[in-house]
């Protein structure tokens, strides 16, 4: 067989780690990204990466990390992959350290660790409050090294459109769009690995980057890939408002001692600095004495909702609370949280050293994503030699990072996403290499007609979209989608409103057909590309909404007042959506809970 070649789509942490591992195996990689990889959304990750290195004399261990992770996810994560990830975590942190990530240090020059949500241990390594950026840069540098050596070919500012599949249904390549020339082009690949991140834009303004439309993932779903646990969307408790996006204020602010509170008196007009201690309600510390401000994000967001909406104690009468860092020494704040202090000062004009920050919950992360497989060992870890790890239900199509559903169950713990991205890339890359080497027919030997047909299909579609006239504006439709999703499919979910949201999405899909292209240029035509993306986003929005409608229980980030309890007998199951001409059709499958028995999830 000819030397295999693998395509990786997406240049965030997961995609870059997979690229490095594949290149290290001597297999050439074509790396596609809609932005120069150094500008991927992973840069936004702030607080750190978890790994039970146990440097604080706390007797922490990977097994405790594993337990915290599955409990944090309300027991919906398959346990062997989650456990394997937690055991690999210390090695991952060491690897990043060797790559030159500027992690903060202890007085003795060891890696420093801090607290994060959903655990009682100092388990989070961090580089100031820009850990994701620092890790992305380290991987970017390693990829550049392989690029200089000729093993990696980058296609930056290329957008994934769809798969190329042979007669047997195996994924043998992809079609991508050069965002400048606006021409779809087919590429052969012995395996295609999607690392395209989350679907934040479905909710309009979120903590996500402007590029996180979810459309690449949605395209895979529309072409037959299963989408799992789509209804589990993480709402981060602490963000700041903005007209273009909602900016995250890292959980590490609370990890370093930040306290969340509201005035006890409704509508208290005083400045927060002037409200005495006794007249403040530290509502998380009061209700959860053990975990305090570091309860998991789903719990904290629901509490903020309760205090602000049900009790009416929100700051300025809004869904807003104080996050107070003013008691922490200035130098320490700057050294450990400088990145977010800077963002807060720049975007609000206020100084968190002297006045409590005003923060509110915002859509942040998708626990759900493309369904991917794994091979477990008898003792409850992953069989790393298996090509099944991280493969979707479509042979030869892999997924790693936020675009897939493994590891986090119904709620992700803070600082576990950087870990899962790296781990998925580290495991998925070699799995794809094994798969590619096992194939009897190389993608290079597949009939040219397979690629010509896929390419022509997309060429025709873009030619059709480029002609599109009509009275609707795709950006306005996207805004309406975001508003509806944000109002109805976030912290609190009611069936009637979920049904209304689905009706709204269908209405938008109808109006999408009348959306004009807005730009006639054959060169760097963003609106044309967005028109294609939006149709895919609408399809994915239905998966999220109808998945939530279907799940009649409350678990992790998914909360229904009409079904407030977790129902393991019926719903300890992975939701799986398959695309059909009438929209998503659902089934569910059991969760591997063979290692620890699900118990009631408590943090008080």
């Amino acid at each position: 067989m000819a030397q295999p070649r693998i395509a990786v789509v997406g240049g965030g942490l997961a995609g870059l780690m997979a690229t490095i591992r594949i290149a290290e195996a001597g297999v050439p990689v074509d790396l596609f990204s809609i932005v120069p990889v150094k500008r991927s959304h992973s840069v936004c990750a702030q607080g750190g990466i978890n790994g039970a290195v146990n440097v604080k004399g706390e007797d922490d261990s990977p097994e405790i990390h594993f337990y915290d992770t599955v409990k944090g996810g309300d027991f919906l994560a398959h346990q062997p992959p989650a456990r394997a990830m937690c055991y690999a975590a210390p090695g991952i942190i060491y690897l990043l350290d060797r790559m030159g990530v500027m992690f903060n240090r202890t007085a003795e020059g060891f890696l420093d660790f801090r607290r994060f949500g959903g655990t009682l241990y100092n388990r989070t390594a961090f580089a100031g409050a820009t850990t994701g950026q620092q890790m992305l840069y380290a991987l970017d540098e390693q990829v550049r090294r392989h690029e200089a050596a000729g093993l990696v070919t980058k296609y930056e500012q290329w957008e994934y459109l769809g798969m190329a599949r042979d007669g047997a249904g195996r994924c043998v390549g992809l079609v991508a769009l050069d965002q400048r020339r606006m021409t779809p082009r087919a590429f052969r690949a012995d395996a295609v690995m999607l690392a395209t991140g989350g679907p934040g834009l479905l909710f309009g303004r979120t903590t996500n980057s402007a590029i996180n439309s979810g459309s690449a993932t949605a395209s895979a779903y529309l072409e037959g890939a299963w989408y799992a646990n789509g209804e589990f969307i993480q709402i981060h408790p602490t963000a700041i408002p903005g007209e273009d996006k909602l900016r995250l204020m890292s959980e590490s602010a609370r990890g370093e001692g930040g306290r969340v509170w509201v005035p006890r008196r409704k509508g208290d007009p005083r400045r927060p600095q002037d409200i005495p201690e006794a007249e403040r309600s530290y509502f998380l510390e009061e209700k959860y004495p053990r975990y305090g401000n570091l309860v998991p994000r789903d719990v904290a967001s629901r509490e903020i909702h309760r205090v602000c909406v049900e009790e009416g104690l929100g700051v300025d009468g809004k869904m807003m609370v104080y996050l107070d860092l003013t008691h922490i020494p200035r130098a320490e704040l700057d050294r450990k949280l400088g990145g977010i202090i800077e963002i807060y000062e720049k975007f609000t004009g206020e100084d968190p050293h002297t006045a409590p920050m005003k923060i509110f919950p915002a859509v942040h992360y998708s626990m759900g994503g493309l369904w991917v497989d794994y091979e477990r060992t008898a003792d409850g870890f992953l069989d790393l030699a298996s090509p099944k790890n991280h493969m979707t239900n479509i042979p030869g199509l892999y997924a790693v990072g936020e675009c897939e559903y493994q590891y986090h169950g119904a709620n992700r713990l803070g600082a576990n996403s950087l870990l899962s991205c790296i781990y998925a890339g580290q495991v998925g890359g070699p799995a794809a290499v094994t798969w590619a080497r096992n194939q009897k027919t190389a993608a290079a030997d597949v009939a040219a007609s397979v690629f010509e047909e896929s390419e022509q299909r997309w060429t025709r579609r873009f030619a059709e979209l480029a002609q599109r006239g009509g009275d609707e504006n795709a950006y306005v439709l996207a805004e309406e989608l975001g508003q509806s999703m944000l109002e109805n499919v976030t912290i609190v979910r009611h069936n009637d409103r979920l049904q209304a949201t689905d009706a709204k999405i269908l209405e938008l899909a109808g109006r999408w057909k009348r959306a004009a292209v807005l730009d006639q240029s054959p060169w760097a035509n963003g609106p044309l590309s967005f028109l294609n993306q939006l149709e895919k986003m609408l399809a994915l929005a239905r998966v999220v909404t109808l998945g939530a409608l279907r799940r009649e229980e409350s678990r992790g980030s998914h909360y229904k007042p009409a079904a407030p309890k977790r129902d393991d007998a019926r719903w300890l199951r992975t939701t799986i959506a398959t695309s059909s001409p009438d929209g998503p059709s659902f089934h569910d499958e059991p969760v591997d809970t063979s290692l620890v028995t699900p118990v009631e999830r408590k943090y008080d």
Partner: protein, 250 residues
């Protein structure tokens, strides 16, 4: 007096070969708007101030919180990230947006900054690790050293310093401030120091450190306040030592 409308003057260009043209827009003011949200408003209703239909303005953006470097442009003539350019923080009157001038325009406010990434290859801006397999922890580093290095590792490759540098333009050989400063970062790392000479050699020839005219504009515009000129001073010492060593070895 607070604005009620936001007036924008935007330099547009259909492709790399130009020609540029100016278009004016007027959009309703809302509290907390930044330049990006103005551009988002325009694409929802792409009509000029004069009422002529036009295409949405094209710009590059990703993180929208000044950590990715994508949305750099000239805002009222100054190179900066447009996400961090809050409308209420800009002087009253028309806001002018232009693409960076030291790079080829792709379209409208989008420029091609790939020369910066190519320069990172030339200066070998990476730690040459043995492999990704488990080799245990990395070298111990003092927190004070770490803090110094962290300042350089925050470089977003945004291009502000390149834009402000009088020595850097599309035709000169000069690598520019950002890629050169990365040499300082990697040479300070205990592992990176093992092949410091390779990076120094990359900045010793033409287009390297000697082409820096010491105008110090780069530090003025760096959004992350990276001590670029300090790096150049330090690298000047390192290259001199290497030059002497090479001389003695001959």
């Amino acid at each position: 007096m607070p604005r009620t409308a936001i007036e924008l003057r935007i330099k547009r260009q259909d492709g790399p070969s130009g020609p540029p043209r100016w278009e004016e827009f007027s959009i309703p003011w809302r509290a907390g708007m930044n330049v990006i949200s103005c551009l988002m408003e325009i694409r929802k209703r792409p009509v000029t101030k004069q009422g002529a239909k036009t295409s949405p303005v094209m710009w590059e953006a990703s993180c929208l919180e000044e950590v990715c470097g994508a949305c750099t442009m000239l805002v009222n003539g100054t190179p900066r990230q447009s996400c961090a350019a809050l409308v209420d923080g800009l002087p009253e009157g028309v806001i002018t947006l232009e693409p960076l001038t030291r790079f080829t325009v792709v379209r409208d406010l989008i420029v091609d900054r790939s020369p910066m990434f190519e320069a990172l290859k030339r200066v070998r801006a990476w730690i040459p690790i043995d492999g990704t397999y488990d080799l245990g922890p990395g070298p111990r580093i003092a927190e004070t050293e770490r803090e110094l290095s962290y300042a350089f590792s925050r470089c977003m490759t945004c291009g502000c310093c390149m834009e402000a540098c009088p020595q850097y333009n599309g035709r000169s050989e000069f690598l520019g401030p950002a890629p050169i400063a990365q040499v300082r970062l990697f040479n300070a790392h205990p592992t990176g120091a093992m092949n410091a000479h390779e990076r120094l050699e990359a900045i010793m020839g033409r287009g390297g450190l000697v082409d820096c005219g010491n105008a110090q504009n780069c530090v003025e515009v760096c959004p992350k306040e990276i001590p670029l000129t300090e790096a150049f001073g330090e690298l000047g010492r390192q290259t001199t030592v290497l030059w002497l060593k090479n001389l003695l070895r001959r």
